[in-house]
């Protein structure tokens, strides 16, 4: 029996590899699951972009779902995402919160004046400290946060029409169905 052990051990490995092949056909290897998914969003307290004296905290936004969109005027891909957000944003059925990330306020305002402002609310994180709590490692990133303040969906990179249709909108639909 003990001589069968190497064989048994190897067959377990084969099982693991078989699983690996199957897994790879099912999943996108580049996706890094956010540890924040389905967890309460981190607490924050940030000034509004246009009225820096007014602070917005996580508690202020509880009660209705919103899409937190991390953007910056220096971010090239944000320019790709922006027209999509401008067109599709109002149809999403949730509030659109712009999270201005590591940006000089004047640059951000200039950028929004030039490209249009699709956001219902704009907050600014110029030093970028709060973004660390969100696990942001670049812009653009988007977080769908429900009425209870739980992160329901996260997307890294620009929201394209494809991502909107296949991922974001189903996630919003699922969220709204669950908590009417």
């Amino acid at each position: 029996m003990s001589r069968l052990l190497p064989f048994i051990g190897f067959m377990l490995l084969v099982g693991l590899f078989g699983f690996g092949i199957w897994w790879n056909t099912q999943h996108d290897q580049n996706a890094i699951p956010s540890p924040l998914l389905d967890k309460p969003a981190p607490a924050f307290n940030l000034p509004k972009l246009y009225e820096p004296t007014q602070m917005v905290s996580k508690a202020d936004l509880l009660g209705q779902p919103y899409l937190l969109n991390v953007f910056a005027s220096w971010c090239i891909e944000c320019g790709v995402e922006h027209p999509v957000l401008t067109v599709e944003g109002p149809t999403l059925g949730v509030q659109l919160v712009g999270y201005n990330y590591k940006d000089a306020p004047d640059d951000a305002k200039g950028w929004l004046a030039k490209h249009g402002n699709p956001y219902d609310l704009l907050i600014a994180d110029e030093p970028g400290h709060t973004a660390i709590d969100f696990g942001v490692y670049g812009a653009p990133e988007s977080f769908l946060i429900d009425a209870k303040g739980v992160i329901r969906y996260k997307h890294i990179g620009p929201l394209t029409p494809d991502v909107m249709a296949k991922e974001l909108k189903p996630a919003i639909a699922a969220m709204l169905k669950e908590a009417p």
């Binding site: 190497p6 693991l16 790879n24 540890p35």
Partner: protein
Amino acid sequence: MTPELGQLALILAMLLALAQSVLPLVGAWRGNRALMAVARPAAAGQAVFVAMAFGILAWAFLRFDFSVQYVADNSNLALPWYYRIAAVWGAHEGSLLLWILILNVWTVALAAFSQKLPEVFASRVIAVMGLIAVGFLAFIIFTSNPFGRLLPMPGDGADLNPVLQDPGMTFHPPMLYMGYVGFSVAFAFSIAALLGGELEQAWVRWARPWTNVAWAFLTCGIVAGSWWAYAELGWGGWWFWDPVENASFMPWLVGVALIHAQAVTEKRGSLRAWTILLSIFAFSLSLLGTFLVRSGVLTSVHAFASDPRRGVFILAFLTIVVGGSLLLYALRAPKVLGGKPFKVVSRETALLISNLMFAVAAAMVLLGTLFPLIGDALNLGRISVGPPYFGFLFPLLMLPVVLLLPFGPFLRWGKGESLVLKQVLMRAGIVAAACAIVAAFFVDGQLKAIAGVGALVWLTVGVLLYALKRWREMPRGRRYPAEMAGMLLAHLGVGVFVAGVLLSESLSVTRDVRMAPGETQHIGNYDFRFDGVHHTTGPNWTADQGVVTVTRNGNETTVMHPQKRTYPRGQVQTESAVDAGITRDLYVALGEPMDANDIEGAWALRLYYKPFIRWIWAGGLLMMLGGLVCATDKRFRIKRSARAEAGAEAADGLQIQETRA
């Protein structure tokens, strides 16, 4: 037309490989000499066709035949001829062809040098090599054809991955494959022994040089790879524990264990089953390495996503070859332990301990490499273990090896004397401790560096003490046979390697700096002065080349030229500048310009001062040399008389059958 001939050659080679594997196996089973005699000519024929296919692909590269998809993907008109040759194995399909070519080199060598082995045994060994070839040829023909056409033919090709355009990389894969594939000989040998149900000590003796040579090539390949990563990747690191590196390191570790286990089995008849098992493991891990690197289960997702058949094929092949051999082992391994008994204090025990350590280390690396996969399987999320895991466990496992290594050779077979051990411990220990204390003053009390000096002296004095003992006690001419000299060299290499690792890791200075032309940085007695960046061109690239003048106490040591190259397809590749030395390397990598429009202004630079880093590779090369020297020992060559003698010697093993006529 010619590329189609290449494909045809591969198909013919596979048919011959089938003949080479099936007919001799049937012949050996039925006792049919005519069928057994097919083995050698079939192997030779297969080799001719595989060489032809390889030559045709190389020729397609040399004359820019971009109508071949693989050529168009991996070369272009500007690529110099030597990199066009290297491009043959620059991507998946061609490197597979190289794998098969090297398998054929080993098979032909095996067929040529096995004339004096018993015919039944030799034909089984060659047949097993044939079976492996069938699997790989089927893989290349059905899933990875290098001769596929691209129509219409493009005017120019893409490019060989610029990362691979480096002398180290040209050299690295063939060496590595020589090692990987070389373990197939020990494997074939063990399978043949299991099929025949007998394992003669004389056959293990005959297999030993093959294992040593394969292991030496593998060592060389790993050293070349490590050197390449150091010189090319611009991070100054020499080992990263990434899955691809681990894939080559696991067979190496098992190879070390196998070399030592074979010595025990050959000389004493003990550890037979273990030697067989290790032979299977060494080659299985080589196959596993191929699987891990190529299937995309762990890396390079895209190759896999485009063709999931490859992963499934390799897994099926792996299951048949490895699963089949392990099942065979379970059924046929010697059930009664043979060999002479040994006491606790004996050379056998010492070798067993080292065996255990290396086998466990290989298992540890395997576990760490597969951890992300296990994480997925158990739904723990995407986890990977990196250098912290390996960096903690591996030294822990190797510590006993380093501590015990000097004692090994002093121990006699069967029963050693503990008195000798005390003498070694006293002498080598005191010298090592003294040197470590002296060293402590030079390295600012860095523990790792002190340990490095201690380990170096401990191992070197241990090896020299044994060399001295041989000198005193043995008559002239019998003091250092090749086997002995090889062992001494390889063990010295371990000391040099350990010292290189510990000293360079603890004493290295790294600095990421912004430097404007004319500015100077002072690192470890050297002043690095940045003299600006200018534009330069090479055969198939353009580059921003920095000039860094290094002075020591006002005297110019060297002028270094780190580059940031741009290849025709826009790929950017850093070329670090390295000033090599026995006691230190100076290393400069060019980062980004502070202002992209002003390349003559300030740049980000990475400066390194790396003491003794070269010793890492020197140690590896000494180990390789040891393996090669060992293999030249006359004792391993089968002579008629030696065979008779070996048969008599083996007679006290329990699993031995008479095979002498």
